[in-house]
Subunit: 239 residues, 2 copies
């Protein structure tokens, strides 16, 4: 059944506007009475189409349930800026695997250093990729891709999570299930092509982050987040 | 230190020929007396360059050790043929993560269906990608990308491994560490864009394969192998 996100659901009526409305009527050629799944804030609504136009699709909500595909943990990926195509890839895969937020971070060794303004356009594109991946993988939310922030700000934000991890190729603990018992919010920081400086790792450690190590093979900066997110989702029984 | 693969190591003399020889002399501009790491069959040789030409580089072997980055298990990835760019991606990531062989498999629902002859050219390209990934990630072997085989042949080959797993989106066991205790060789089968037919899963089960399940989110066919290989390498303490 086609799957869309909307936040416009009130008293058993759901409304879809914008590109999705056009897509439902024109590309999918859906008709009055057809069923559709709408997602909003981790809930899933089975709906029946009541009216279609290019401007809006109105639906009656038939039933609702918590989206089963949402993981039990809220994992935020703090990703040091790699080249843009790699970030696109990371966003798509991280969303499929269950992260709830992706925060691009500027570190000393980032080769790609967009300023806030030039990143804004890119952010819109990355958010579209996140939405596509959320629809395709059956997520109950559209994970957010935030603005780019400094590692100092990132370290402070990570502190807010129940557990905070930084992947460090020079060593750290192996990921293990015990790290996550009774933890709801998880922060994971991954480096860019050049990794982190020692100062940056110390900064994160001072904010409570635990260095973790992904083993002896040198992983590319786009492989490390996918591997780490997969392992964390497995250790927390979300995979 | 630059890292190359060669099988031509005899009595403390190592020889590199072909493109790598040209690369060492011209691109890297290495000189007599420079040190270089050579890999062969899971061993790592620290060598000193004795002579350089475009045809061959001769080296004295100074010391040798088992490559620490090689995993303790031999994991073969049986991958149902996706579109070629996705297979390239899977080969690169699977090699970084530690698989020892990638076997492309033709299944009922493969959209991409190259015949043996047209695949031969592609195989050469995939093997190059495997070699690049092996060098970059510090592997001790160059994993092989084999010819494309039928699922019937694949099921029989999987039987040879100590444990054989097939990812099935309709359900199976979760991956767990116990599956791999005392196991040296592991076969992992992953579907293409359309997944497997029931008949194919039954065929693999008849050959002893255990269906496994990667959770409630629908993973793309290139994400599933990366996630599964990461989790298996973690469960076997190779990551």
């Amino acid at each position: 059944m086609p799957r869309f996100f909307t936040d416009d659901i009130h008293e058993n009526t759901a409304r879809i506007t914008g590109d999705d409305a056009v897509h439902i009527g024109r590309s999918l050629r859906m008709r009055l009475g057809d069923e559709i799944t709408l997602c909003s804030g981790g809930m899933e609504y089975i709906c029946k189409i009541r009216s279609i136009s290019d401007k809006e699709v109105l639906c009656d909500v038939l039933s609702s349930q918590k989206t089963k595909a949402e993981p039990s943990i809220e994992l935020t990926l703090f990703q040091a800026m790699p080249k843009l195509d790699k970030l696109e890839f990371i966003v798509q895969k991280a969303v499929e695997l269950g992260v709830c937020k992706i925060v691009p971070v500027l570190t000393e060794r980032c080769v790609s250093r967009p300023d806030g303004k030039s990143f804004e356009k890119k952010r819109a594109r990355l958010q579209k990729i996140a939405e596509g991946a959320a629809k395709q993988s059956g997520r109950g939310i559209i994970p957010t891709v935030t603005d780019i922030i400094s590692i100092e700000t990132a370290a402070k934000q990570m502190k807010e999570c129940d557990i905070s991890l930084i992947c460090y190729e020079k060593g750290g603990r192996r990921l293990c299930g015990d790290m996550f018992s009774d933890k709801k919010t998880v922060a994971l920081m991954i480096g860019s092509e050049g990794g982190f400086s020692e100062r940056e790792v110390e900064l994160c450690k001072d904010c409570g982050a635990l260095p973790i190590w992904l083993g002896k093979r040198i992983l590319r900066c786009e492989t490390a987040p996918i591997a780490a997110v997969s392992i964390i989702m497995h250790l927390t029984e979300n995979m």
